[in-house]
């Protein structure tokens, strides 16, 4: 069993570093996820891990933070948002960017890249419509390990079975030993970068379409609203935000409002000017 002061130490550190809220009833998660970290570093227990962290071991703190994040993701997760993206949001954004012919899309908290690549595949499928357009997809995450995987674009049998239509597998993936690798043309469409959502986001630039799904659920209310507020500043007044199935802005941030008849999609409220008025959340990267 974890000592209460060790639990408190870990909970505080995780909240500060990634926003993750760990309540005492989830203490078992610390045990199950940190035991491998301890083993990897030849430490005998989680107590020893914490002791070492108290001595300001930055790389250990990083590993602990990464080990505690939930990285589960799959291609075309929940299906519907991707239909909405293709059928409603993309045409609308294209209409308003007709002069500029340029669109930036952000997969915030992209984990191992499935969301970003799902979008890339949809764009490829609509290449004719997008001829002459410059479309950028940026995937960001706090986990270096996940980003490495995303960049490699290598997925297991299990992962390509979850949500990826068979036609897309055949078209866009190649078998590589026991894994499947996404085509280099698609890998070239997505840029992956390490970025903490709690930190200043300005360096990322402005995004017309933001997917920020299944990450806010791990944060407490004040953190959620801070992150949403910061995201809103990286969007033009006519941008779109996609949240996960269990997430909403309602009661959390008044900078966004739901798009009528489009579940899970939000646009900026009239009052939410994209100006950098308030101080940033974190102390920079």
């Amino acid at each position: 069993m974890l000592r209460p002061d060790d639990f408190d130490y870990l909970a505080k550190l995780l909240k500060e570093r990634s926003g993750l809220v760990i309540t005492p009833d989830k203490a078992y998660l610390l045990e199950s996820r940190l035991t491998p970290v301890a083993r990897q570093r030849n430490l005998k227990s989680i107590e020893e891990v914490v002791a070492k962290m108290r001595g300001r071991d930055e790389s250990l703190a990083r590993d602990v933070t990464e080990a505690m994040t939930t990285n589960e993701s799959f291609f075309f997760r929940d299906t519907k948002p991707f239909d909405q993206f293709r059928d409603t949001v993309l045409p609308q954004v294209m209409a308003s960017r007709a002069a500029k012919k340029s669109i930036r899309i952000w997969s915030a908290a992209c984990s191992s890249g499935q969301e970003a690549y799902s979008l890339a595949m949809l764009l490829k499928e609509n290449a004719a419509r997008l001829a002459g357009w410059h479309v950028e997809i940026i995937g960001t995450d706090i986990s270096v390990e996940m980003l490495e995987k995303a960049k490699a674009g290598l997925y297991s049998q299990f992962e390509v079975q979850r949500g990826l239509p068979i036609q897309f597998l055949v078209k866009y993936f190649k078998k590589k030993d026991e894994s499947w690798q996404i085509d280099s043309s698609l890998r070239g469409m997505v840029q992956f970068r390490e970025w903490n959502l709690l930190h200043e986001l300005r360096g990322l630039g402005s995004f017309d379409i933001v997917f920020c799904r299944n990450v806010l659920i791990y944060f407490d209310q004040p953190t959620k609203s801070r992150v949403l507020e910061n995201i809103s500043r990286q969007m033009p007044p006519d941008g779109f935000l996609f949240l996960g199935g269990a997430e909403t802005v309602l009661g959390i941030s008044d900078r966004f409002k739901p798009v009528p008849n489009q579940r899970g999609i939000y646009c900026l409220s009239a009052g939410a000017a994209p100006a950098a008025a308030t101080a940033p959340v974190g102390a920079g990267r």
């Binding site: 299906t79 049998q157 079975q161 949500g163 068979i166 036609q167 055949v170 078998k175």
Partner: protein, 121 residues
């Protein structure tokens, strides 16, 4: 209730699939090879077919080609289920009219995900 025909020469696999499909709310029928499956389909077309690749008498792919020729035979959603996972195999299955594929071994989560994806759940 939707119906699913399980076509596999392995009794164990049929049992596993049957249990999962019942939990997902399907009525199931079983066939141990393509010929038996074809005869069943001639009488009554299911909503879905979970189809093994390698079977004696009539292979999965031969069954699928024949199924698609039946009146209304383009109706059933066919999910191919195979240990063969190279692109050529999968492509051949698509050409023959498969809607989706699952690589063995499968579990309830994968079956559920695939059946949702093809709109049956």
């Amino acid at each position: 209730m939707k119906s699913c025909l399980i076509v596999d020469d392995s009794k164990v696999i049929r049992m596993v699939a049957k249990k999962i499909l019942h939990e997902l709310g399907f009525n199931t029928e079983e066939a141990e090879d393509g010929q038996v499956a074809y005869d069943l389909c001639k009488k009554n077309l299911p909503d879905a077919v979970l189809l093994d690749w390698n079977m004696p008498v009539m292979s999965g792919i031969d069954f699928l080609r024949e199924l698609r020729k039946l009146p209304g035979g383009d109706g059933p959603v066919v999910v191919f289920c195979t240990t063969e996972n190279d692109i050529e195999h999968i492509q051949e299955a698509i050409l023959a009219g498969a809607n989706e594929y699952i690589m063995k071994p499968f579990d309830s989560e994968i079956l559920q995900a695939k059946f949702t994806q093809v709109g049956l759940l």
